[in-house]
């Protein structure tokens, strides 16, 4: 493969996996931005969504692409439920309490699936999205390409919602200053509910799409959520734009570092950049604070 094609392939690989990271990170950033809650269970919601897709495929023969709307709706309500039954009572609690709560949720979800589904690796076989597009010597995996497209559509919809709808503006107002938003008549509790719903629905989309090209396993969320946290840090806390930027940047750093230097060091590059951002741009690239 010529160097030009190789670089193009690396960029494509970086953007494709970066899109997945971005989609996972968006939900995390949204919840943090509005409520200042670090959702330690984020990766486990991702895993649960992949399992839901697997279950729909396994028991009902529904391809993950077909069952995607169902998974999104289910996870929207799971997000509502998380806020209503768990986080609502903790919203004004110290950070430690919310961390402990999401950590507990993480363990309950992870080991709940672990017990029910056993530590077996599962893959959705013969999905609608399979194979690759081959252009010259460049390969573009169709499942990852469609995942990126869906991630882009999701982000456009999310931006539009946040920017142009009344509820979206209320979410942004709450993120800026909860007390002022409340004094202006914003129903903050409802905003929290919507934010959890949207955040978990986003990670639900990521999990469902991930199941088309990744194995489904009770601990699969752990590896991805670490990257999602780094993405949020790079992009800036509370910034949805930032999370997308961070996800894509990490995807590209991993691919360039892994391909041209050493795969053993690809995460070293990611967390090296992470440290540099901490030092020189502590707010991240699009952070509020």
């Amino acid at each position: 493969m010529d160097l030009v094609y190789l670089i193009l392939q690396v960029i494509i690989n970086g953007i494709l996996i970066g899109g997945v990271y971005a989609l996972i990170a968006v939900g995390l950033s949204l919840i943090w931005g509005v409520m200042e809650i670090v959702n330690f269970a984020h990766g486990d919601y991702l895993m649960a969504a992949a399992f839901f897709s697997f279950i729909f495929w396994s028991y009902m023969g529904l391809d993950p692409l077909i069952s995607l709307p169902l998974v999104v709706v289910i996870f929207l309500f799971i997000g509502f439920g998380t806020q209503k039954f768990v986080m609502k009572r903790l919203i004004d609690s110290p950070t430690l309490i919310t961390i402990a709560a999401t950590f507990a949720l993480s363990l309950i979800i992870r080991y709940g699936f672990f017990v029910v589904f056993k530590p077996d690796y599962r893959v959705i076989r013969d999905p609608l999205l399979q194979g690759s597009l081959h252009i010259s010597s460049i390969s573009i995996p169709i499942a990852k390409m469609v995942t990126l497209l869906i991630a882009i559509i999701t982000m456009i919809l999310l931006f539009s919602f946040l920017k142009y709808t009344k509820k979206g503006r209320a979410i942004r107002a709450t993120a800026q200053d909860r007390e002022v938003a409340k004094s202006l008549g914003v129903n903050v509790e409802q905003i929290f509910l919507i934010t959890w719903g949207l955040g978990i629905a986003c990670v639900g989309i990521a999990g469902a799409m991930l199941s088309t090209f990744y194995y489904v396993f009770p601990l699969m969320g752990v590896t991805f959520v670490l990257i999602a946290f780094a993405s949020v840090t790079l992009g800036g806390f509370g910034s949805v734009h930032g999370a997308i930027f961070g996800g894509l940047a990490i995807g590209l750093i991993q691919q360039f570092g892994g391909t041209f230097v050493s795969p053993a060091l690809k995460d070293v590059f990611v967390f090296g950049v992470f440290i540099l951002v901490l030092i020189f741009k502590p707010k991240g690239f699009f952070g509020k604070y």
């Binding site: 690989n13 110290p94 690796y121 590896t223 892994g258 391909t259 053993a264 604070y289």
Partner: protein, 456 residues
């Protein structure tokens, strides 16, 4: 330590709030977020410990039970191995503790350990969670709190390395049935024994196989690529593959060392595709192997042959990949197609299937064998005195017909390493595993080279 840190952070947060400095509060929150992200890797890697005991025998034990500490990854991303080994060991305990005169296994004909007044074996489980730190903690817990007579485990070489340290310190015999890092028996430990071959053996067998392929097919294979994960086992396996490749006249043109548990292997496969060697070896665990196959398919690339280890014999591999798993080769100690000609193995497979709906695979067969080797040593020692058990290990001589594995015998050398035990090469054809090398043991001819993705 973690909780102390959080508590300290919270206090600082409160102080800042009391001072009315909201900006500083945000700053602390941001810093805590950064640090939490960094700590996430260690804190989320598995958080449920398991200290489960096997069910007590239905009849009262005539003497005190013999407690054996078992350390395997019961949670974490390698929990599938731990689960398989747990099933196998539970069956082994049942056979040792009860009478199974029709099974030609050590101690099967008697109830318990006859030289210790029929004492029963009792397993105490420790969860390594797949990490060396947890493995060591589990070993310490089992030795100090549970006062186990001996330890058994731990599959991953890196975990076995650390878990055997407290055993050496406290003078407790440690038997390893399933880690292949050569370093483990080169440390000169007094209490550490290993009843499985080393990476030196299977890596040499792989290169001998390719030398034979060159002769048989005039294949002109020369270039070699290695994927190895970055823990002790992967790194040493990669080193030995390089060593033997050089010895047998092959050239390693690409060696890709990658982080274990990485979510994406595109860069790794792209590097290998760029180098385009004739042969590729994957020294990685099952999740990596599944991901490599999928990523190679995405890139529409395959060398003339890809080989992996016994991990792809686990049912998860073909369950996950289906037909895409065909034509891959593996080095293996427990070739199902050969060992099922042995009546003992057939019977044990039936018993496993009846109880758990699964049969033996390579790791579980090795763990199963390990418990019989350990129980045999304790019984011959006639005591739970560690020195006597250690002395009994040195005299171990279990003949091939008395074990599930297809070896001539189990004996230890002066370094406490299994003396003999050979690998065969299998190839997956039509969703089944067939022995293809050594040629004289082959149950099917090898399909050479492996068909490209387009030809399938």
């Amino acid at each position: 330590m973690y909780s102390y840190y959080i508590r300290g952070k919270l206090k600082k947060n409160v102080i800042q709030v009391n001072d009315g400095d909201v900006k500083m509060k945000k700053e602390w929150k941001r810093i805590s977020f950064f640090l939490m992200t960094i700590m996430l890797a260690s804190t989320l890697s598995g958080c449920i410990g398991e200290k489960e005991e096997t069910p007590a025998p239905t009849t009262p034990a005539p003497v005190e039970d013999i407690k054996i500490g078992c350390i395997w990854p019961l949670t974490g991303d390698l929990a599938a191995y731990g689960a398989a080994n747990k099933r196998a060991l539970e069956l082994a305990v049942e056979i040792i503790n009860n009478k199974y005169p029709d099974l030609n296994l050590p101690l099967a004909a008697s109830e318990g350990l006859p030289n210790l007044g029929g004492a029963k074996i009792k397993l105490i489980w420790g969860d390594s969670r797949g990490t060396p730190e947890e493995g060591r903690s589990a070993a310490e817990y089992l030795i100090i709190n549970e006062e186990v007579v001996a330890l058994l485990g731990c599959y991953q070489s890196a975990v076995t390395e650390t878990a055997s340290l407290p055993a050496e310190t406290y003078g407790v015999p440690f038997l390893n049935p399933d880690s292949s890092s050569p370093t483990l028996t080169e440390r000169g430990y007094k209490w550490f024994w290993r009843c499985t071959p080393k990476a030196i053996d299977w890596t040499r067998n792989a290169l001998e196989f390719y030398t034979d392929i060159n002769e048989k097919f005039d294949a002109n294979l020369h270039t070699y690529g290695i994927f190895n994960e970055d823990t002790l086992w992967g790194v040493e396996s990669g080193d030995w593959l390089e060593y033997w490749a050089d010895e047998f006249g092959f050239e390693v043109i690409e060696r890709v060392q990658y982080p274990h548990e990485t979510p994406d292997l595109s860069a790794e496969v792209l590097r290998m595709k760029q180098a385009n060697p004739d042969l590729v070896h994957i020294a990685g665990y099952i999740s990596d192997s599944i991901l490599y196959v999928k990523t190679m398919k995405e890139n529409n690339w395959l060398p003339k042959m890809v080989m992996s280890g016994e991990m792809i014999q686990m049912s998860d591999f073909l369950d996950a990949l289906g037909d895409d798993g065909n034509y891959f080769c593996l080095t293996i100690l427990f070739p199902q197609d050969l060992v099922t000609t042995k009546a003992l193995t057939v019977k044990l497979n039936e018993m496993m299937d009846e109880r758990y709906g699964k049969t033996f695979d390579d790791p579980s067969a090795r763990a199963f064998t390990g418990l019989f080797v350990l129980a045999d040593a304790i019984n011959r020692a006639g005591s739970t005195d560690p020195a006597k058990i250690n002395a009994a290990f040195a005299e171990t001589n279990i003949p091939g017909e008395k074990m599930i594995l297809p070896w001539a015998a189990i004996q230890f050398d002066e370094k406490h390493q299994l003396k003999a035990g050979g690998y065969v090469i299998q190839q997956i054809q039509d969703g089944e595993y067939y022995t293809v090398w050594p040629w004289e043991l082959a149950t099917r001819d090898i399909i050479w080279p492996m068909p490209s993705w387009d030809e399938r």
